[in-house]
Subunit: 139 residues, 2 copies
């Protein structure tokens, strides 16, 4: 079951500049920084009314985010729906002819994520996220 | 003050197909249809955990959404932050060097919206929305 919009990612060239501007827009909101080495990115996120706004600076030009910013420049990268049961939701999507486009992987914090096929969802980069109890996060 | 992500818009070629697929993804959620003649679009929206997911089919190739889909194809169009005071938030954005890129206009329902300059917000199409009491909606 989809319970909300979990996070929205924007690719940026310079994380500190983007955080500074976005924080000002949000009235001084603090951002939490984290590297996601497997994806080749530095990130900073802020909770905006229950949805994470995630700014993503690629550090590896060969990674998926790095390739995307090279092709498309800065801007929207992906939107991730929140689910309380990732495996079940993947099956539900498949039944709706929306296929997974990646293996399930670790995201930030205790997030487990999977990409959906953009060609099955009118061109948009869509993802599913389940937040696991941190005690059972896979490695 | 920004209080959340008010809505996220995706451009689609065929609204009924997109609604059907998206509704299935969301577990059967109903979408509300509405035309927005001034923008040259048909729309359908669903509440996803407090954020409106809006599917937008351009019907006027000369309108801004129509021009965008002609240039970029289907996919993400814009994200709109919710504010409880649009005029004040526009001033706050301006102070943060994020300028307005449109006049304030009516959106769907009782939404009053204004576009921000994508060049001031790392390339992303960002908007502000204030929901007015329906009794004072401008015409």
């Amino acid at each position: 079951m989809i319970t909300g919009i979990h996070h929205i990612n924007f690719l940026v060239y310079d994380l500190d500049t983007a955080v500074s501007r976005c924080s000002a827009l949000l009235g001084g909101t603090s951002f939490e920084y984290a590297d996601l080495v497997d994806r080749g990115v530095r990130t900073a996120k802020a909770d905006v009314g229950g949805t994470w706004l995630v700014l993503v600076q690629p550090t590896d030009p060969e990674g998926t985010p790095g390739q995307h910013i090279a092709q498309h420049g800065e801007g929207f990268f992906l939107m991730s729906f929140q689910t309380d049961d990732l495996a079940q939701q993947i099956e539900c999507c498949s039944a709706a002819q929306i296929q997974s486009a990646s293996a399930v992987r670790n995201g930030l914090d205790n997030w487990r994520v999977v990409d959906l096929s953009p060609t099955d969802f009118f061109g948009a980069q869509i993802q599913l996220t389940e937040e696991l109890p941190t005690t059972i996060r896979p490695h």
